[in-house]
Amino acid sequence: MFLKKLGLVLIAVTIPVLYITSGQLNSSVADLGKILVNLFHPTFELDAIVERVILLIRIPRALTAMICGAGLAACGCALQGVFANPLIGPQIIGVYSGAAFGGALGILISENSFLTLSLAFLFGLIAMILVFVVARVQGYTSRLTLVLAGIVSSSFFLALVSMVKFIADPDDKLPAITYWLMGSFATASYAKIQLVGPLILIALLALIILGYRIDVLNLGDDHAKSLGLNVERNRWSVLGLVTVICAGVVSVAGVVGWVGLVVPHIARNFSKSNHFSLLTVSAFIGAYYMMIIDYLCRGLSSMEIPLGVITALIGAPFFAYLLRRRLES
């Protein structure tokens, strides 16, 4: 048991260290150590380029990837619990498309990345409000109408994304929008982490705390009511938190698919059956999963490969494998 824990701690430390010390530019673990020491007490002479690459590119990128990965994985896990459906991912509630439209609009009308971020976040929330208005009838929301409202919202905002691409300048805006829609951590910075990171982490923590209520929601509306749970309030609380996380992720990284769908399935192999544990494990695995994916995006070649490409290329066959294994068992 001790060895297993030690192994996990070693993996948890090794992956970020490898992520931060390797890439197109040569750097060593010693460089990282010296940089960290210098942060508190300037002692070592360092290559300015290596120092900046590690401090200004790799570390903020690693942090962003970890926060986003943890958030998305927890969102997928929570939604699969609330809908009692393992095939549900964060895209289903339409927030992704709303945030995607906001981001695309931001790039179209401005060159300010913080406006892009703000609009992505804002339209993610608007998409959720749209789902709320459509799905809630006479104070009650059924799972089915919720999914259908998500499809309505998603389709609506995807049409708006197409419209933005339709009118974007092919010489500068369109490539930027297209690339952004495929997801990337290339523009990660401490400023963005400061803006969105706390929101995602607070929402993630709240989601984990709601884990036991998700267990009850997972039993079905009638059972949950008979156990004294206010189904409407709790379901919308979970959806609200998921919205904050998804909108936050899309605003800093663009549209990143598959993580929320795949990671909870991996997490089920390592966690207890309650959602408190499952959400916690999903968040941890999601953080590392996303960091590895991002490393592949920036390290496989001199090209910066969009995140969405790698998450789908790895996620789709892996998900198919999990699905088959589950069916066979």
Binding site: G23, Q24, L25, A48, I49, R52, V53, L56, I57, R58, I107, E111, S113, K165, F166, I167, A168, D169, P170, D171, D172, K173, L174, P175, A176, Y179, W180, S184, A186, T187, R298, S301, S302, M303, E304, P306
Partner: protein, 350 residues
């Protein structure tokens, strides 16, 4: 019998006078009458067309972004009538899908359309019975094809010959000068910089002229335009950096003052330059490309490439647009103000 002979003679006479041109898809287009009304859907085509014709009189419709690129610039001031031409027959952005009825309403004798973006945007025009010339622009050879097609249509073969000779002679001179270069420098072109970093790899026109002037393109490891990480740029550590002319307000300062790139050689030496914008942007192939070659050669190896660029611009603009470019025009085209802080720029081009 006499009537039959006259009919046959007239038929042959018509055939002999019919204008014929082969487009870049290898399609032959025949015109029974001289081409007087032209619609252009590709954004850069009108500037080439104007340079060959020496006027914009035959243009009856252009893409909205053609006007955006010309507005407030040299060519827009020279041919302000282009800014008033209709554009509503095609969408605003990356949309070259024409509204065929809108194009037909302009009664064009010829429509220029992209030949390498799929049949979906091409066939509706030919299905409507319009004369459509497919054009593509990827390299120097394509540029010369444009010159051939447009000059044939306009009956301006003499002008085409002058343009091609100018390109040929300049290329020869630049090549001769490049052959003397011993120590080659890395020249990196950013096709996009603001939202993401996109560089020009192997096979792009930018790669072609970087090699032509004797430089090395560090991004030539991959083909075409592709996105890179800031880290990759730092690893390449280019000697010269070229900022594209497409993104509005993008300037050398964006690279020089970048938190990461500011420690690279190009930023420290201030060898970062914004690409000029004349009759069209100097980055992609166009009618003014020989000026791009000279400009870049002078910036990269001033000891080997020495040309009277301002005089060359004046001379070539007289040939291309039949106009005298003023010094203020030249300052604007060369972006003297924006590039003032870059190494050697003012001395080389003032």
């Amino acid at each position: 019998m006499r009537i039959l002979l006259i009919t046959i003679c007239m038929f042959w006479a018509t055939l002999a006078s019919a204008l014929e041109v082969v487009d870049q898809k290898g399609r032959t287009i025949q015109f029974e009458n001289p081409v007087e009304r032209v619609v252009s859907i590709p954004i850069p085509a009108p500037s080439m067309f104007i340079s060959i014709d020496g006027s914009a009189d035959k243009l009856v419709g252009v893409h909205q972004l053609t006007k955006t690129a010309m507005k407030g610039r040299f060519l827009g001031r020279l041919f302000p009538e282009v800014l008033q031409l209709p554009s509503d027959f095609v969408g605003g952005g990356f949309n070259f899908m024409p509204n065929v009825e809108g194009v037909l309403a302009l009664k064009p004798d010829l429509v220029f359309q992209w030949g390498n973006y799929g049949d979906e945007i091409f066939d509706p025009l030919t299905n409507a019975g319009l004369n459509v010339a497919a054009i593509m622009i990827r390299n120097e050879q394509d540029t010369r094809e444009w010159i051939r097609i447009m000059s044939t249509v306009l009956g301006k073969e003499d002008k085409a010959l002058k343009m091609v000779n100018w390109r040929e002679q300049t290329m020869k001179e630049v090549k001769t000068n490049s052959a003397k270069i011993q120590k080659k420098k890395n020249v990196l072109y950013f096709r996009l910089f603001k939202n993401n970093l996109q560089v020009a790899g192997k096979g792009t026109y930018n790669d072609f002229y970087i090699n032509l002037i004797g430089g090395i393109n560090p991004a030539a490891g991959n083909k075409g335009f592709y996105n890179v990480t800031p880290e990759q740029v730092v690893a390449w550590n280019p000697d010269i950096v070229l900022m594209n002319g497409f993104e509005p307000k993008l300037s050398p300062k964006d690279y020089i003052e970048h938190p990461v790139f500011s420690v690279t050689d190009a930023a420290l030496n201030k060898t970062v330059y914004s690409m000029p914008l004349g009759g069209y942007r100097w980055d992609p192939p166009n009618q003014e490309s020989p000026l791009t070659w000279m400009w870049l050669g002078m910036l990269t190896y001033p000891e080997h490439h020495s040309y009277p660029l301002r005089d060359e611009i004046k001379r070539s603009y007289k040939m291309l647009y039949e106009t005298d470019a003023a010094d203020s025009d030249l300052n604007e085209i060369l972006k003297m103000k924006m590039n003032a802080g870059s190494k050697g720029y003012t001395n080389l081009f003032k």
